[in-house]
Amino acid sequence: MTYFELKKIFLKPVSRIVLTILAVSLCVVSYFAIGYVDYVDENGNNTIGIAAASALRDEKNKWAGYITDDVLRKVLQENALINNSKEYLSKDVTENNKAYSKKQGFSDIRDMINRAFGSFQSYNYYRADSVTQEEISSFYDRRTANLVEWLKSDEQENRYSEQEQQFLIAQYEKLKKPFYYEYADGWAALLEYAPSIIMLVVLTTGFLAAGIFSDEFQLKADSVFFSAKLGRDKAVAAKIKAGFIVVTSIYWITVVLYSGIILTVLGFGGAGCAIQNGFSNWKAFYNITYLQDYLLTVLGGYLGNLFILFLSMFASAKTHSKALAVSIPFILLFIPSFLSGISVLSEVLGLLPDQLLQVYTAVKTFNLYQIGDRVVGAVPIILTMYFILFCILLPLLYQVYRKTEIK
């Protein structure tokens, strides 16, 4: 039965269109993700692709290892040396690029110095140029100090309770120092574009899943279906199973293809580095590695796919409307982004299902929740909450559909 349910889904012309769109999107997003990592060669030319990534990896891995005071000092020295070179001081952009080419190896560490010695909410690319050899030993302390300063600032005064502030500070302190650094741009690029591909999967799979329950009504095949012996038990279960297979297979095929392409081109290295290494996640209070961030992102994405698409199937089983089923993923994805400007809603928005599709972004967001006397971030909450909701949704879907009356 499940076989026929799958056949019903995939024989539809719309399915072929939707899967083609998804395949094209996968190529486009992969292209952008690969372009995220660029290498400037010694002639000042910008390049991307396998060779570029490999050259950049070689440059950066010259600095691989623990970022101790010595390493930081060496970065400052190298940086100053290049800053005084004639390429750097030249008015010609190509010459400047040549200077940058030499900085690439330590650019991540230099970015972290910018972050550490700037303020919490701003970033100044030239800050590292004026950090002194004496100052640099406060590098790791500056990270926490910036946080404390931000928490005490006027605009943040009432946002976090005392306990929440302590939680954030404790998380910052717990992060293992010194950081272990190596080239991890493959993972960084992979994660940067993971939310886009995961959202595209939800929206496209929505078109396939929408018909599983509502097509019987639209095609007027419902009378035969529900008057069949198994039409109110096993045949309904087969539909749920088919939905599960469709969501699972499309999601994992896309994610595995996407991850495989990006990591093959940009490199698998750096999986064990803390995400705070480098530019993007310096401030994150979740102390995890790139690999852990990736796993949270793809597992969260999978849960998000399951929840949102089964919610849409539930709606179509209840209302018999395919249009509603197709639009539910769009509503759940786009309404929160319209509201995201309103800061008072931030805590609520942090728990909506779209967050599951972008765990990578959620990991960087400062939403805290008090559960009993514990403070937790949004990520563990959404993972638990939507898993439970999904488990409740399945039997509800079964019950609603099997009790259908044909009027």
């Binding site: 039965m1 026929f4 056949k7 024989l11 007027k220 095949a221 198994l230 044909i406 009027k407």
Partner: protein, 295 residues
């Protein structure tokens, strides 16, 4: 096989579509005759457990069909009035799928599918997609799907609607061939569909069974008489205004009217024995003069 309808009622809000029907059916062909909106489909949906009655019960061999659930549906084959399917499936795929949801074991399903495809004359179209079939072929697929589980109760809702006269005749023969050892309930508003095939005719009007019996019983118990009256052209309109006229046959010189009336409508009238069509008109026809399909 015995189906008992006990005070069966279905209302949609205020409106009562099926009104306290009491009826017992056993094996044989039952023809359910009624005009549009009489409640035929509603009644059949309840018999297929697709709709819950708002009052009364249906018993199959003494057990409530809604309590029997899957066990009862296992006995039922249903061809709905607006029979829909999966357009991208081939005839074979479709029948295999329906067999699966009817709980027919795969080996049996394959055998029955092949048998039925031949029986309904679809052997050449077995691998065609359903969306490419003609209306008549689709109906035959519909019959085949209803028969897959070899149902003891076969419910066909207007199976001949939209078919050309040839297809209708073929269909009638097909159905009478399927009727051994089972209860067939067939609804229609086309009298000739069931006139000679049905063992019992049920006439339904406004949600109630107004008359039932064999063809003879129904025609013999008609309260009014049927008259054959040849009249000149100019008198036709005065008669059709006053009486129910079931047929008008125009000759070159005169017109032959078939009139339903308690008294003799005109001097030349001859009393004839009523047909089922006359009875249908007697129960369901508007007073002549209103526009009204001549059946």
């Amino acid at each position: 096989m015995k189906l008992v309808l006990d005070n069966l009622t279905k209302g949609f809000g205020e409106f009562v579509a099926v009104d306290h029907i009491n009826l017992t059916m056993t094996n044989g062909i039952y023809g359910l005759l009624g005009v549009n909106g009489a409640g035929k489909t509603t009644l059949m949906r309840m018999l297929c457990t697709l709709l819950k009655p708002t009052g009364g019960s249906i018993y199959c061999n003494g057990k409530d069909i809604f309590e029997m659930d899957g066990e009862y549906r296992n006995l039922v084959g249903y061809l709905p009035q607006d029979f829909g399917f999966y357009p991208e499936f081939t005839v074979k795929d479709y029948l295999f799928y329906i067999a699966a949801i009817k709980g027919v074991r795969p080996a049996v399903a394959r055998k029955r599918t092949n048998e039925l495809i031949t029986k309904v004359g679809l052997a050449k179209a077995a691998d065609k997609k359903l969306k490419k079939l003609s209306g008549g072929m689709k109906r035959r697929v519909g019959i085949a799907q209803a028969m897959l589980n070899n149902p003891k109760i076969l419910i066909l809702d207007e199976p001949t609607a939209g078919l050309d006269p040839n297809e209708r005749i073929r269909f009638r023969n097909l159905i009478s061939g399927l009727s051994e050892e089972r209860l067939v309930l067939l609804s229609t508003h086309i009298v000739s569909d069931i006139e000679y095939t049905a063992n019992e005719i049920l006439m339904m009007k406004d949600g109630a069974i107004v008359n039932k019996g064999t063809l003879d019983e129904i025609t013999n118990t008609m309260p009014e008489k049927v008259w054959q009256c040849p009249v000149p052209q100019q008198e036709v309109s005065s008669i059709t205004k006053r009486y129910k006229v079931s047929n008008i046959k125009t000759d070159r010189h005169s017109v032959d009217l078939r009139v339903i009336s308690a008294e003799k409508p005109c001097e030349t009238a001859v009393c004839v024995s009523p047909s089922l069509e006359d009875v249908f008109l007697y129960y369901f026809g508007e007073k002549a003069g209103d526009d009204n399909d001549v059946l």
